[in-house]
Amino acid sequence: MENIKKLRVFVSPWLVRIGLWLIPLSFLLVAFFYPLSRIFALTLDPRTLTSENLLLASEVLLFTFYQAALSTLLTLLLGLPSAYLFARYDFRGKSLLRALTAVPFMLPTVVVAAGFSALLGPRGLIHSLFPFSSFPFIGTLWAILIAHVFYNTTIIIRVVGNALSSLDPKLEAAARSLGADSLRVWRNVILPILRPSILASSLLVFLFDFTSFGVILLLGGSRFGTLEVEIYLRVLRLPNLPLAALLSVIQLICTLVISLIYTRIVTRATVQTAPRSAESNIRKPKTLREKIFTTAFAFLLSSFFLLPLSSLPLRSFFRLEADRGQRGEVLYGFTTDYYRELFINRRGSVFYVPPIRATANSLGYAGATVMLSLLLGFPAALALAKPTRLERILDPLIMLPLGSSAVMLGLGFIISFGAWLTSPLLVPFAHTLVALPFVIRTLQPAIASIPERLRQAAASLGASPLEVWKNIDLPILRRATLAAATFAFTISLGEFGATLLISRPEYPTIPVAIERFLSQPGGLNYGQAMAMATLLMLLTLASILLIEKFRIPGSGEF
């Protein structure tokens, strides 16, 4: 005891801080800022900034804006009534429906693309059931727009719905008592109050549509040259790295500007409505009109979200067309062939290895990403839990990779680490770059939420500093760490843009394998795409459930 009392270690707090920042910052320096500088250098080369390149870039930019704006409008069209439905009415299955609308947001793009293909594609369920009702879907602008709506409606529902349900019902009553009819209550009272939240959520949706890659490539095809798709094409199909660099710089600038505007609107929006109990506004539909609205809209929403998600597993168990090279009698109907094929290494197939190896690769990459992002995220989250003024500046710096697109990260890796591209190690590094902001944002509030008083209380009860860490910090952090790990795991599993650019053909991940299966002819390849996408969807859904279970309520919002 006497010895313990005299043992006092003094470490300068500044040294600790620097130590905490050293690892994550040097990682970002090497894996993000260095490639970024290479991209900028390539862009600013006079040979890049030709009028021909600039003209092409402006066309691409214009189309990117166009499709994003159109997608956002359509998302609002579905999202606003949905927000109203959820914020004002109570009906059976409401929480389930609400959860359902949020599912696509977490799903990998390949899964969503495969789902729409399974439902509406030329080899999809509807086309097979009604062969004469042929209408083009895959490869049209509509496919892109509808997939975007599918993805992002939940943002409008959450942001606008929250504002709507925190709106004081007395305001409406006051407006009515002053002589306003329903229409004018909406136009003069409710909409003006909701405007910041509608604007903010629209901008967020716009941002996601603007940077969308997988959906556009897989559902629209390379005809629809958005910035992202064009960067990908200029890297892999019609190699022109300087043009790709120019496009990604334009992309980055646009994303940053949109994010800045978004941040400003959000700070204004949060001042507007005071949080109050959300219960008082919610009631059961009473009049006939209300009943028709809630029933019809709930039905519309559930079929819109359920159909693509359920078509995918359904389609993966049914043979609806002949396999490539298959002659004679084709057995249509229920089959587990597509799953069994995943384990077979066929000559002349898309891969040199059994396709299931893609699953092993993905899991390996995901595991490495979890380790790496926790290793880097923990020190940063510890430092950011109680930031000094200098460290507040470092916070957006660490979040910056979130604003740059995945395809751009891939491009940066190719330009900077081209020599190591044969190594499978690059993939988890790229995934960590994408996952790190999420990991930090999950850990940081949990660490910050442990009040100093708890540690002092433990100390006054006889806990040594080590015991305080073991009994107070660790148990409280365990849940957040698990949530962060699952986040990193899910992100790595579904990551498509960067992986497509830098993964080796012999080490495909699940999303890359699905893309390759989808782009090949033949029923067997298509079926295997469906089977793999179903597996990926199940893995992701399981992860979402885990995250929800571990997450400390109210933390980790973006």
């Binding site: 002092q456 009860l461 006889g462 500093p465």
Partner: protein, 331 residues
């Protein structure tokens, strides 16, 4: 038992604690009373070992504790916001300190049960602490501190977050528990009623110094300075000039004061006029009534010259009255 000697501490360059010395005897409850910013909480944290003094000593039963870290001091601490561990239930919270001391399971169970019984929370063992009311949480915090049988109990504004009625109940219980367990205690508060209700001895802290120490009755009957009288709200504080022969010139006219000290002629001194009337007092103050408030069984009457007194009978606003007040010397 506890000796605090010559503690100094500065905060952002300003002295926060300026030469603080006192002691707590066995079984004694000492109350540190002061406004926010008076340094009382810092003093408590220094005694607990959570902060270090710039100079000075803390000792207990003659043993120097200055270099002993908090977890080896064996002082129980109860916080204003309770600081219950949110990931543990009531039972686990109370058992925490006992586990740290590596007591055998059976003894832990017995002590937890006893502590919970002492604070009236038997049957709450399995409850989550986040589901408890404020009063219940405070009882758990107290049980948690009591379970380790500390050599000293410290309370940092323990009832500050509770409403008035609950505060009085808990205060009475706490006083009885402290007497029963005979553990010496230091109780920090800014509320003088709370302090007088629980303390055997009160220390009043002001700008980092102890400005008055004594039993509640002593402090009440002779506050000793204008600051203490004002802080405790004892009555009207009047400044005046001593003009000799026990007479002081004030804005209420010349008042006669019975003073133990010798004052120089022309010296500025502070007087206290308690609001309760003294029929035999020699000082008469006249004024027009500007405000009348009914309080308990009497009327608080304020005059146009600022003096307030308690009257048994109602006075009317605008009425000119004469009151007899007893004046004490504060300097």
């Amino acid at each position: 038992m506890l000796e605090v000697q010559r503690i100094f501490k500065t905060y952002e360059g300003k002295p926060l604690l300026n030469d603080i010395s006192f002691s707590v005897a066995e079984g004694e409850t000492l109350c540190l009373l002061g406004a926010s910013g008076s340094g009382k909480s810092t003093l408590l944290r220094i005694i607990a070992g959570l902060e270090e003094p710039e100079s000075g000593f803390i000792s207990f039963s003659g043993r120097d504790l200055t270099a002993t870290p908090a977890h080896l001091r064996d002082f129980g601490l109860v916080f204003q916001d309770y600081a219950l561990f949110p990931h543990l239930n009531v039972n686990e919270n109370v058992a925490f300190g006992l586990k740290m001391r590596r007591l055998p399971q059976g003894e832990i169970a017995e002590r937890v049960a006893n502590s919970l019984k002492l604070v009236g929370l038997s049957g709450f063992e399995k409850r989550r602490v986040t589901e408890l009311s404020g009063g219940e949480q405070q009882r758990v915090a107290l049980a948690r501190a009591l379970a380790t049988r500390p050599r000293l109990l410290m309370f940092d504004e323990p009832l500050g977050a509770l409403d008035r009625a609950l505060r009085e109940d808990l205060l009475n219980e706490l006083r009885m528990i402290l007497h029963r367990t005979n553990i010496p205690a230091i109780y920090v508060t800014h509320d003088q009623e709370e302090a007088f209700a629980i303390a055997d001895r009160v220390l009043i802290l002001h700008e980092g110094q102890i400005v008055r120490a004594g039993t509640p009755a002593e402090v009440w009957s002779s506050p000793g300075s204008a600051f203490v009288a004002g802080f405790l709200g004892l009555g009207n504080i009047i400044t005046g000039r001593y003009i000799g022969e026990s007479e002081v010139e004030t804005r209420f006219g010349v008042l006669t004061v019975d003073c133990k000290h010798k004052h120089q002629e022309g010296e500025n001194i502070h007087l206290l006029a308690r609001p309760l009337l003294a029929e035999k007092a020699t000082n008469v103050v006249q004024g027009v009534v500007t405000d009348v408030v009914f309080q308990q069984d009497q009327f608080k009457v304020t005059l146009d010259n600022g003096l307030y007194v308690y009257l048994r009978e109602v006075a009317n606003v605008g009425e000119k009255i004469e009151v007899r007040v007893k004046v004490e010397c504060l300097t």
